[in-house]
Symmetry: C2
Subunit: 311 residues, 2 copies
């Protein structure tokens, strides 16, 4: 049985500076630096090995443990093209297993001024440990007993097959805006119309955490995935039923809060959707500071200040 | 005109490790250490000066810049008594202006196991920079146009006279629990009955920030006040009107959201109640990530992970 804090720690799994294991990361990993020296990601040694062949555009410094984009790469286009060439070559050579999940979708990395700094193929983001962005929508039916619409992930999905999820979730790929992604994903994953979503959706905050892949995942171990997930509540009428549209979802089921709690404790949810469900519980007064001993730490860890520039 | 991020930064005003000013704090301040060496607060040099006379119970080390409770102080009672003697002596001698606000109310400092470590007079907490705890209740009337009950602080209050506030707020003093403090303060500050509060209140999260007093405050400059504020929503019927009970509130008024926004931007709210009002806006979808450029930073800074053990 997992506690709620256990689940949040699986999501926000990168050690904090005060933690003993933090030094291990500092000693082992390389900082990924923008061309002006600002850190934008964290790269593991087994990836750095494959970055030493491009000294004119990407400088690896083993003493400083940095991988720095060359000052000559001074446009969004130049930086994005340079990374695209590298990761496409890796894909062709089957250098990394994560690239088998190639999406042909670009994620954006930002400047400190919140403007676009570079674009990178979604599947390659974790190799550079850059921040990625997504939306998570919790669909619920109010009433004397509030219920949540919970999908089970397809058993054919390469990542987290068969686990439970938030009603709808998806990454924010270029050039889609936040709300545009919400509308798109609600249609693609739950068959909800644009009009229905726009008239029922409510932004409800944002979750951020610093995730490091566990060795239980079959892909490369230890990759960094700092993430920002915009959270939305979708209050639904009892007769509106989400539909399985694409192959990503096995089925939707209306869960009571007690059932959701039980499945959380059994570890049936995908790691980050567990954290977003716990945040829903906190925002809706289902978890209280007097009943939940780790209330404060749960809230703080799921709103972690990330070290890099953000959207 | 203040931006929402400006207001949050006034609340969460202690620099972060990446900020230039952070070194200044490290260079200048003394860590306040528990008898086992765990940091529990931060003390300014003008306070440390008055702590050098008690070497058997409190050891000041100018090289390490620490003030450490002696290992012999191995009970809650011994530690609390020791601090009580020191701060009572300061009060008698009028050593610090903050002690003019003496409350005869004890705040609790915690162990890493969330158990009680020591008690300290409320007015003296900032001299040691320990974490303090409170509750903030946002009373609102739902409807086509949601409205908030906003009190104006009494013009006779020593702190922040005449500023706007959350409907009800108060510190969690020993031995009161969190919900007990909510009920107590709602009665004392707004004349709301226990029954009414318990049937209408909903816990809605917790805010944490690391505040440092500004030099615009007439009290000692630069004292540290890391704070944890449990947040509650109180949905009220239109005919329930909060009453001025004690002398702390000048008047209550029902504000539209537009009026609240306007007063926030003018800086009319007490610093931390501004942050809690912004959190209400975010939780209720009044601020959205697409309209508010600093959405993410606002959310992260108002859920700051504090460096010391907590409740």
């Amino acid at each position: 049985m997992y506690s709620y804090l256990d689940l949040v720690k699986q999501t926000d799994s990168v050690p904090y500076p005060k933690d003993v294991q933090h030094n291990f990361i500092q000693q082992k990993c390389y900082a990924f630096l923008a061309h002006d020296g600002i850190p934008i990601g964290r790269i593991l040694p087994f990836v750095v090995e494959h970055l030493t062949g491009f000294p004119s555009v990407l400088k690896v410094d083993h003493n400083k443990q940095t991988v720095k984009i060359s000052p000559s790469m001074d446009t969004v286009h130049a930086r994005s093209e340079m990374l695209s060439r590298i990761v496409n070559e890796w894909r062709r050579k089957k250098t990394f297993k994560v690239l088998e999940g190639w999406r042909d979708e670009l994620y954006c990395v930002y400047n400190p001024t919140h403007t676009e700094y570079l674009f990178i193929e979604r599947a390659a983001a974790a190799l550079f440990g850059v921040i990625t962005y997504g939306v998570h929508i919790v669909g619920y039916v109010p009433g004397p007993e509030l219920k949540l619409w919970i999908p089970r992930r397809s058993y054919n999905k390469p990542t987290f097959p068969g686990l439970l999820d938030n009603t709808v979730a998806g990454g924010i790929g270029y050039p889609h805006g936040i709300m545009e992604t919400v509308v798109k994903e609600c249609a693609e994953e739950a068959g909800l119309s644009r009009e229905y979503v726009l008239s029922h959706i409510k932004p409800a905050g944002v979750i951020s955490y610093n995730h490091q892949r566990e060795n239980t995942v079959e892909l490369e171990e230890g990759l960094f995935q700092p993430e920002v997930e915009y959270v939305y509540d979708l209050e639904m009428e009892p007769d509106v039923i989400p539909k399985v549209v694409d192959g990503e979802v096995e089925s939707f089921e209306l869960f009571t809060i007690d059932r959701v709690k039980e499945e959380l404790k059994k570890g049936s949810f995908k790691y980050n959707t567990a954290t977003i469900t716990i945040d829903f519980f906190i925002r809706h007064g289902i978890l209280t500071p007097e009943d939940e001993p780790d209330y404060l730490e749960i809230v703080q860890r799921s709103h972690r200040l990330l070290e890099y520039p953000v959207m």
